[in-house]
Amino acid sequence: MEFVTPEGLRLDGRRPRELREMRAEIGAVSKANGSALFEMGNTKVLAAVYGPREVQNRSQQMSNQALVRCEYTMANFSTGDRMRKPKGDRRSTEISLVIRQTMEECILTHLMPRSQIDIFVQVLQADGGTRSACINAATLALADAGIPMRDIVTSCSAGYLNSNALLDLNYVEDSAGGPDVTVGFLPKLDKVTLLQMDAKLPIDVFEDVMELAIEGCKAIATYIRKVMLDHTKQLEYHRDG
């Protein structure tokens, strides 16, 4: 199958090095301590953060740092075929773990000892790159909850199809079976916190693809920071009495 036309256009009309349109909204869940909605093209993810709050299971309490928990779920209506997925299937357990580890890395957990932070991410529409979208949404939700962080984490995926490095794969490109590199990146510290790849890739090509994914992360970070700043300013001038 041809994923990049000779004119250099992808199936959805993007260039190989083009991100889908992003949209982020802070404060989508009124009862949560922090929440955000993040859209990347047709992928749409809702994140809600509760805490830091009292640990529910006393035996998990840690006296020197906070406990971070994460739950990833996909809505039944998020994919093309409506399937009843059992809660806690292997795929969502794995993604929950990935998101938890990525977020835990940037949260300053030692500032909130003996407490717990719950992150719930729900995929409302899945069109490839759900785990990146989840990490981006979780970052926004954590910032909204006022949880201190080392840096913001952003995530983006990149792939390699028809000997072209492609940024931000959608569902069709993702299911083509080619390599898919997901990167989680700390833009301020200039560090990679997450790197996942399925399928194989020659080392020199891999570096290009990863470089591209990092570029994507940086672009997403610019947008996320803008959204956060606008929101902070709005809160401040509303409050200011």
């Binding site: 805490g51 009292e54 840096d151 913001i152 610019t222 803008k226 709005q234 401040e236 200011d240 009495g241």
Partner: protein, 340 residues
């Protein structure tokens, strides 16, 4: 490598919980009010607002103290939360906006009992842990000061049960968590009213957090933790007994049991008072959705606005009143700015 093609859309920053269906005129009025608020704000439009991982510019190099919400990164001061940069002499810190409650000693808080544990109650006060109220750090209902006995411990549920709403003062952080105290008659169980939960950044620490609104016959407690209590006014029991009891404890004890017995019989709140409670609660809800700071003056202004416009209690949560509240707040801020 070439540049990326990125489309940055316009952000739409919606207001939390404001799922109102505004018509066209209302939308324009609200937008105009927001514009006015923005121009009136002293810090909102300056570059004092920071987000996570922003570098905070330093005006003078030597010896800055890094306070809350900041990190040191290769000599730079970096924000770790979203908020507003505050500078006090050499101290630089970031004042958080939306966050859970950060206790300070002496704060007056309202909380809900989550657990009755040995010699203590655990309270949810919107902090990162449950707060602890020891049996020994509160006045017993009979007003006698003495050692707490095993009998008192067994009778703890007769003082506070699970899910009771309590008002107390922050005593400080001990090794086993945050401790509260309730050593005065003004603290204790809150009954016959409503508890509202708002974000703590909307409540300013002031000298007075207990308010008796005489004309409405209600009590308003603005807890520093964002828990607001609105209830029927109760007359504070004479504080004098704390000093008196030393000489004649038995007599006082007996007297108190008598008054407690009387209170149980009379549990009726007049309709007018209940309406006033709901009206005040709705005023606070509107202010909370708009994210305006809550002082007793602002709340009363909104309550009076709703009365003067003859708006029913249930209509106060509608879109029209929300816009009116925003416009009223603009008016208030601009007039206070002129005066100041």
């Amino acid at each position: 490598m070439g540049n990326l093609f990125v489309v940055y859309p316009q952000c739409s920053s919606d207001m939390r919980g404001l799922q109102l269906s505004l018509n066209h005129t209302q939308k324009i009025r609200l937008e105009r009010a927001q514009e006015r608020l923005k121009s009136l704000s002293s810090k909102g439009n300056s570059d004092a607002s920071v987000v996570v991982a922003d570098t905070i510019p330093l005006n003078y190099e030597d010896g800055v103290l890094k306070g809350h919400g900041t990190l040191d990164l290769n000599g730079e001061v970096v924000a770790s939360i979203c908020g507003v940069v505050e500078r006090v002499n050499k101290l630089i810190y970031v004042r958080a906006l939306r966050a859970r409650y950060k206790p300070e000693v002496g704060d007056i808080v309202v909380g809900r009992v989550t657990e009755v544990a040995p010699k203590r109650w655990r309270l949810d006060i919107n902090y990162s842990q449950d707060a602890v109220l020891m049996l020994s750090s509160m006045n017993l209902p009979d007003g006698i000061q003495r050692r707490r006995t095993a009998v008192d411990e067994l009778n703890m549920r007769s003082i506070f049960e699970e899910n009771d709403v309590i008002c107390a003062e922050v005593r400080g952080l001990q090794h086993d968590g945050l401790h509260l105290q309730a050593r005065s008659q003004k603290y204790g169980k809150l009954e016959r009213g409503q508890l509202l939960i708002v974000s703590p950044y909307l409540i300013k620490r002031r000298k007075q957090h207990f308010h008796h609104l005489d004309q409405y016959g209600i009590d308003l407690i603005l807890g520093c933790n964002g828990f607001i209590w609105i209830g029927e006014h109760v007359d504070p029991k004479e504080d004098a007994m704390i000093e008196d009891h030393v000489d004649k404890p038995e007599q006082k004890g007996l007297k108190f049991e008598g008054t407690l017995g009387n209170q149980v019989q009379e549990v009726y709140t007049p309709l007018k008072t209940r309406q006033n409670i709901c009206r005040t609660a709705n005023a606070i809800r509107v202010l909370s959705t708009l994210g305006f700071i809550m002082t007793v003056e602002v709340i009363m202004e909104i309550v009076n606005l709703s009365i003067s416009l003859n708006i029913d209690v249930h209509e106060m949560l509608g879109s029209e009143f929300c816009v009116l509240t925003a416009e009223k707040e603009v008016e208030r801020r601009s007039s206070s700015k002129k005066r100041g």
